[in-house]
């Protein structure tokens, strides 16, 4: 399985990563190698096997609907690269 440069950029865009032209070859090679390794799985018959998303056979606990949080905006926004009037700022979004 070989991942070509076009596919590489498509996947990178989905992941919001950009791949430098100089790194294209090494990424596409490395990813292709990983995909080859991963393709070993296809040799196993898994017909009818239920996929296992969680290692333990446990069920979800539910939380009581009670407010436990208070306003920590100023504290938490110290971590933010850009804020104004309590809002997080990002480059203009066009809809």
């Amino acid at each position: 399985m070989k991942l070509n440069v076009e596919e590489l950029h498509k996947v990178a865009h989905l992941a919001r990563l950009s791949i430098h032209a100089k790194d294209e070859e090494s990424y596409s090679q490395a990813l292709s190698n990983i995909l080859n390794l991963v393709d070993e799985m296809q040799s196993i018959d898994t017909h009818g096997v239920q996929p296992m998303a969680h290692p333990m056979d446990a069920v979800q606990r539910l939380r009581t609907d009670q407010v436990t949080e208070n306003n920590q905006r100023d504290y938490l926004q110290q971590l933010a690269p850009a804020t104004e009037n309590g809002l997080y700022l990002v480059p203009r979004v066009v809809e």
Binding site: H13, L14, R16, A53, H54, A58, V59, Q60, R61, L62, R63, T64, D65, Q66, V67, T68, E69, N71, Q72, R73, L76, Q77, A82, E84, N85, G86, L87, Y88, L89, V90, P91, R92, V93, V94, E95
Partner: protein, 482 residues
């Protein structure tokens, strides 16, 4: 060519929980930006979600109300995409096994018939934050207070063929969620939002046309207008020999048009997978039964009871059952006055008009059901004439007294049925208007009917509306006709 539209709806209802679906932050509306966004809502590194029990219960109640089977297990998935109002870079939602399976709703059409619309499923998910595009030096501001608010997304089958049907379905969902108390259904505040999938095809064709999804429709009126506009647009494109591009369009109510959205174009591969931070939710059948037993009477059941047991017309029953507070008001009045038709007429008439004039909801009515029933009781036992009853209602609305009887007493509105007293008033009026009496007697019998109205008006006025109209008519006819 004859065209036929095919419409499906995706309705997002914010659930009326106190806290978010996966965190203990408040969901109260209108707070300062980001003051209700804690470390979980902000997707700080290392945070984890825990599911809100109330959201699960509310979703199950909805499922029961639309005749859907509730699965024994339901799971959560991640829908991956990047957007500034989506802090984790994925939305936690349900794709593989939603909490509400297939169900249906019957909607009432204008011709009085009903149509069954299948609900494909409904699932729980978290809401996103809000992007504010006002000027921050060319930047967008992001408020994450809404991020993580529980939503129930209700997805219908594409089984509606007119905008009116779509609106009827939306109204029906609106009454159910408000009846159940699981959402305030406020479209203006965004607690209920609707996306419509619209396509058209030549009448009689099996195959569906390419569809467009219209987003951002935030009122019942706009739903109808947006869908009608989109149907028209698609027909025009097709009749001009064009093709419909499958796309997401935004409805602009100011221009009454839809236009293609730019930002969502490439957001097409959401890479759903089971959320590893949330385990399967087991739904105990005894618990479901318990919720089922506690369900309130739903709009459809009420409508049936109003027609079948109370003898109301389909139309009246539909109006009265459309909102739970209105139906509750009606039920209380009927219980006290014992006359459903009278209660229906007066609630849909005088009370509705007054609410409309004051621009308030039934829950804010100044006249209580007990007071209202008091008026109707006096109307039925002939203590009040129709006109006097209206005066009592107005006085109670203006808080001039506590009960109908108190107002009747204070204002002297008791209906006069004593024929002697009425005769005296008639004599007085006839004596004052001898010319009109002459005219009446000279007129052809078929012209006389209209002229009677003049005398009745004068008599009622003189009696301040308290004279029994039936007695007045009888006595007046006798005297005029000699």
């Amino acid at each position: 060519m004859q065209w036929e539209a095919v419409i499906g709806l995706e309705i997002h209802a914010q659930l009326a929980t106190k806290t978010k679906i996966f965190s203990g932050s408040s969901t109260a509306f209108g707070a300062e930006p980001n003051s209700q966004a804690n470390i979980i809502d902000l997707a700080m590194p290392g945070i984890l979600p825990v599911l809100n029990k109330q959201a699960v219960e509310m979703a199950i109640k909805f499922g029961l109300a639309i005749n859907s089977a509730i699965p024994e297990r339901t799971t959560f998935d991640r829908k991956n995409y990047f957007y500034p109002d989506l802090p984790k870079g994925y939305q936690t939602t349900q794709m593989a096994t939603p909490i509400v399976g297939r169900g249906y709703l019957d909607i009432q059409l204008e011709d009085g018939s009903s149509k069954r619309i299948a609900i494909h499923h409904a699932h729980l998910e978290e809401d996103a934050g809000k992007s504010l595009h006002e000027d921050f030096q060319g930047m967008t501001g992001v408020d994450l207070n809404r991020a993580g608010t529980p939503l129930l997304e209700i997805v219908t089958e594409p089984e509606m063929s007119t905008a009116k049907e779509a609106v009827a379905l939306l109204r029906s969902i609106h009454s159910i969620i408000t009846y159940l108390g699981i959402s305030d259904g406020n479209m203006a505040e965004g607690s209920m939002r609707c996306d419509a999938n619209v396509s058209v095809r030549p009448k009689g064709q099996e195959k569906l046309g390419n569809r467009c999804e219209i987003k951002n429709i935030n009122s019942f009126r706009f739903v109808e207008r947006a869908i009608n506009h989109e149907i028209q647009r698609q027909i025009e494109v097709l009749e001009d020999g064009g093709r419909i591009a499958q796309q997401t369009r935004l409805y602009d109510p100011d221009l009454n048009e839809t236009r293609a959205m730019r930002s969502k174009e490439d957001a097409n591969d959401y890479r759903y997978f089971p959320c590893p931070d949330l385990l399967p939710v087991e739904i105990d059948s005894a618990f479901v039964q318990q919720l089922k037993d506690a369900l309130p009477e739903l709009p459809e059941e009420k409508r049936q009871r109003f027609t079948e047991q109370l003898g109301l017309s389909v139309y009246d029953a539909g109006v009265l059952s459309s909102s739970r507070p209105l139906a509750d008001y009606f039920d209380k009045v009927v219980a006290l006055c014992g006359d459903a038709q009278l209660a229906s007429n007066w609630i849909s008439g005088e009370l509705a008009a007054q609410l409309n004039r004051d621009g308030v909801e039934i829950t804010q009515a100044a006249v209580t059901p007990e007071q209202f029933a008091g008026i109707l009781i006096r109307l039925k036992d002939d203590t009040l004439s129709n006109g006097a009853a209206k005066q009592v209602f107005a006085a109670l609305w203006a808080k001039e007294g506590q009960t109908a009887d108190e107002i009747i007493e204070a204002k002297g509105l008791k209906q006069v049925t004593d024929t002697g007293a009425i005769e005296a008033i008639i004599d007085e009026i006839l004596a004052k208007n001898t010319a009109q009496v002459e005219q009446y007697r000279a007129a052809e019998p078929d012209k006389r009917g209209k002229m009677v109205g003049f005398f009745v008006g004068q008599i009622m006025k003189a009696s301040k509306g308290t004279a029994n109209p039936k007695a007045v008519n009888e006595l007046l006819a006798k005297k005029l006709n000699g």
